[in-house]
């Protein structure tokens, strides 16, 4: 047999002979590396998951025409329009977004006023499919509108005594129009005082085809994407004023940073403690091998030879433990992500490397005791039983 085959043979036999001990060590290593993998995967995807969650707070980037004043009907105040409105062209906005490669979720809005029974109603044109997806805080009583249908804000509905199902006769610059009220929306915000209908319908009614008063974007928080998108939009759309909505943008950045730090600290604390615990276990198990070492040295084993047997054992245990740990850890991380976020964790193959290195590190750390004694042991004394 060649030397290398002998080495493998010895290692294998040593591990099999003390089956119980080997299984114990394997389970400990698998547990430690699965913990490392699970924690690592959860932390890694935490940032992205939380960034997706904070989109529910609404837009963090807003485009308005440079010359526009924000309507004083916004922010929940109801003083009507204070100045002459100006608009953005929808096709320009869309091509700018495409040219800038901006993949953020977006919603288009147009504000105007329509007359109803000699009263000026503030109206907003939106794409209701976008609203359902991007504005989850709308509390809608009734149904989502179809063609020629509208949604009324709850305060407006109460004030003007408009109920779902009623028909509104409105007069617009393009002519009279009738809308059926399909539902009432309440949000606690400015939506409560507005009437919503489909964007193209409002554009036609106001005689402003293809015009918008506002574009709201939800750029993924974290990683500087917001600044990048804001600056590229500023260049591509000189007629627009690009504002970061600090209420959502800044707060989300702060929150994400805290979540990241928390996950990092938690992972480090758990891994270091678990690692110490496991290293302790491993050392306790492999502590008493002096007799074996003494025998091998007495038979002529070189220090290097004996070391390589121990290293080989540790490597074997480490590899098998690491592999099992990676599979188990991925399963745990997947379970946690599915249960909490209803999304699957990303499949990160290079985490296998993390798992293996944790496992190998612990296996070697555990064998450190016997390995150092290889150098210092006097075979005669150990064989004699001291």
């Amino acid at each position: 047999m060649t030397r290398r085959r002998w080495l493998v043979h010895l290692i294998y036999r040593a591990l099999v002979y003390r089956r119980g001990r080997t299984l114990l060590l394997l389970s400990v290593l698998a547990m430690a590396s699965s913990l490392a993998t699970a924690l690592g995967l959860v932390s890694y995807s935490m940032e992205r998951r939380v960034a997706e969650e904070v989109r529910k707070y609404g837009a963090n980037l807003v485009l308005v025409p440079e010359a526009a004043h924000l309507d004083v009907g916004s922010g929940g105040l109801n003083f009507g329009v204070v100045s002459e409105p100006s608009y953005l062209r929808q096709d320009q906005v869309e091509s700018a977004l495409a040219a800038g490669g901006i993949k953020a979720e977006r919603s288009f809005h147009l504000r105007g006023a329509l007359q109803w029974k000699n009263l000026d109603l503030m109206v907003e044109g939106v794409n209701f499919a976008d609203i359902r997806r991007l504005f989850p805080w709308w509390q809608l009583k009734g149904g989502w509108p179809g063609a020629s249908e509208a949604v009324v804000g709850s305060d407006l509905a109460t004030r003007l005594k408009i109920a779902p199902g009623s028909a509104l006769e409105l007069s617009a610059p393009a002519g009279p129009m009738t809308l059926r009220v399909s539902g009432v929306v309440s949000t606690g915000g400015e939506e409560d005082n507005l009437l919503f209908l489909a964007l193209p319908e409002l554009q036609k009614a106001l005689g402003l085809p293809g015009e918008l008063s506002q574009v709201r974007l939800m750029v993924t928080a974290g990683g500087g994407a917001l600044k990048r998108d804001a600056s590229s939009l500023k260049k591509l759309l000189p007629a627009a004023r690009v504002s970061e909505v600090r209420q959502t943008a800044r707060t989300s950045e702060g929150l994400l940073a805290k979540v990241k730090l928390l996950m990092l600290l938690v992972t480090v604390v758990v891994l270091v403690s678990a690692g110490c615990s496991v290293a302790g276990t491993m050392s306790a198990t492999v502590l008493e091998r002096s007799k074996e070492i003494g025998l091998m040295k007495a038979m002529g084993g070189t220090r290097l030879g004996v070391m390589s047997i121990f290293c080989g054992e540790a490597a074997m245990l480490g590899l098998v433990g690491g592999g099992a740990g990676y599979i188990l850890g991925t399963a745990i991380a997947q379970f946690i992500t599915e249960t909490v976020f209803s999304a699957s964790a990303e499949f990160v193959p290079w985490f296998a490397g993390v798992s293996f290195s944790v496992s190998l590190f612990l296996a070697l750390a555990g064998s450190l005791g016997p390995m150092t004694s290889v150098f210092t042991l006097d075979p005669v004394r150990s064989l004699r039983g001291e």
């Binding site: 001990r21 060590l25 389970s27 400990v28 430690a32 913990l35 699970a38 924690l39 959860v42 939380v50 969650e53 529910k56 707070y57 924000l70 004083v72 929940g76 105040l77 109801n78 204070v82 989850p136 805080w137 509390q139 305060d155 109460t158 004030r159 949000t187 606690g188 915000g189 409560d192 504002s243 970061e244 909505v245 600090r246 209420q247 959502t248 943008a249 707060t251 702060g254 929150l255 730090l261 928390l262 600290l265 938690v266 604390v269 758990v270 403690s273 678990a274 110490c276 615990s277 496991v278 302790g280 276990t281 050392s283 306790a284 198990t285 502590l287 008493e288 946690i336 249960t339 909490v340």
Partner: protein, 409 residues
């Protein structure tokens, strides 16, 4: 005799004892750190989410959008049932007027508000209320207003008027004029940029609406909404209503503050409240799972280390049996060792875990944490339980084997 044996077993095998001790201490440290921070993390995260702004709006109950609330009712907000959940509130008084800076003039909204007002309510601790407290995202270039004639102007309005910190603005409402000095320019990307903010008293005087406010924004800690919380309070039985009222849903906190302000109507600001509820639920879910994971792995680590050490010592057990010890005596020796090591390890682990929890809390949230009192006995007790559980199986197995087989090797 038992004590002598135990003492010797500790002193004769220091390395092995130390390793077991280390294993137990680290396991207990992880468990303590996690249990210590788990409850606090939830609270701290909820506080963090308050930085997104107010989640309750109080308006006059009159349906036509006019009407006012009384400023004198505001301190009552600090005395309601949910007062400890309310982290801050700010009143606003609106008016539209002509704002002029030099030659330029604009029609704009003037808002009176509190920026950083110290509020002392009888029977309650003094607190600070105002925009600075509930809207931390305001970026003010310059200073916050200090005096009655200072104001903060929104960035968009400032740009049109050419106003900078230090400029003097003329504000005219219904023929009454007032000169205000710009202390700072605020950027928010929202509707604030189109307004001029001045101290409440100044604007009340300008608009001749002393003692009145238009609306109040309240920032409160709430629990996520669930199906029970979404039920209409009007349709609840008395018991259900009490349960609803005593749970910090955003709807019940809103109802509570509505009762404090006469003639008001409070509604949740759903954009903030619903996102917050969903996010908190998920963060708590992750922390719960991580806690289970950490506890499970520390229990496994400790029990396997005991298992390992017990298995290594079967020759000793066999020898003791061979010289005539019975099972109870052997059990007493080994379990006695386990008891001592695990109590020592549990105490050390608890102290270490306490420190770790403090480190995490300070680094992430800049605040201290106090480990709950029940954690100490729980940590020791569970360290003991896990250690004993880990030792039992190999001990029994070792006791059952014939001494001859073990002693032979």
């Amino acid at each position: 005799m038992l004590f002598r044996i135990l003492k010797n077993s500790f002193f004769k095998r220091p390395k092995a004892v130390f390793l077991i001790f280390l294993s137990i201490a680290m396991g207990a440290a992880v468990a303590t750190a996690f249990l210590g921070i788990a409850g606090e993390i939830s609270h701290k995260m909820a506080l963090e989410l308050r930085s997104y702004g107010a989640n309750i709006l109080i308006e006059p109950a009159t349906a036509d959008g006019g009407g006012f609330l009384r400023e004198q009712d505001l301190p009552k907000i600090k005395t309601v049932f949910w007062k400890y959940n309310i982290t801050g509130f700010t009143p606003y008084l609106f008016g539209v007027g002509e704002i002029s800076a030099g030659a330029k003039r604009e029609r704009g909204v003037i808002s009176g508000t509190w920026f950083n007002k110290e509020l002392s309510v009888e029977g309650e601790a003094p607190s600070v209320q105002g925009v600075k407290v509930i809207a931390p995202w305001w970026e003010v270039n310059g200073n916050w207003p200090d005096a009655a004639d200072e104001a903060v102007i929104g960035a968009a309005l400032a740009k049109r008027l050419g106003a900078v910190p230090g400029s003097v603005l003329g504000v005219a409402v219904h023929g009454r004029t007032r000169r205000l000095r710009v202390a700072g320019v605020v950027t928010t990307g929202g509707y604030e940029e189109e307004e001029l903010f001045a101290p409440l008293a100044t604007v009340q005087e300008l608009l001749q609406r002393q003692g009145k406010v238009s609306r109040v924004q309240v920032s409160a800690l709430t629990v996520p909404m669930d199906d029970f919380g979404r039920k209409d309070p009007a349709s609840m039985t008395k018991n259900e209503y009490e349960k609803w009222y005593c749970t910090a849903y955003v709807t019940s906190v809103a109802k509570n503050v509505e009762e404090a302000m006469a003639g008001s109507r409070a509604k949740p600001i759903w954009q903030i409240a619903s996102a917050e509820g969903a996010l908190l639920k998920k963060l708590n879910g992750v922390m719960l799972f991580l806690t289970i994971l950490a506890l499970g792995s520390s229990a496994t680590a400790v029990s396997t280390s005991l298992m390992a050490s017990m298995a290594e010592r079967s020759p000793e057990i066999a020898l003791m049996k061979a010289i005539g010890a019975d099972r109870f005596q052997i059990g007493a020796i080994f379990l006695g060792e386990t008891l001592i090591i695990s109590v020592a390890g549990g105490v050390t682990g608890f102290l270490l875990g306490d420190q770790l929890a403090g480190v995490i809390s300070r680094s992430v949230f800049n605040s201290t944490i106090a480990s709950p009192l029940w954690l100490f006995p729980t940590a020791i007790g569970s360290a003991l339980a896990v250690a004993v559980a880990g030792s039992i199986v190999p001990l029994r197995r070792a006791l059952l084997i014939e001494p001859v087989r073990v002693l032979k090797g």
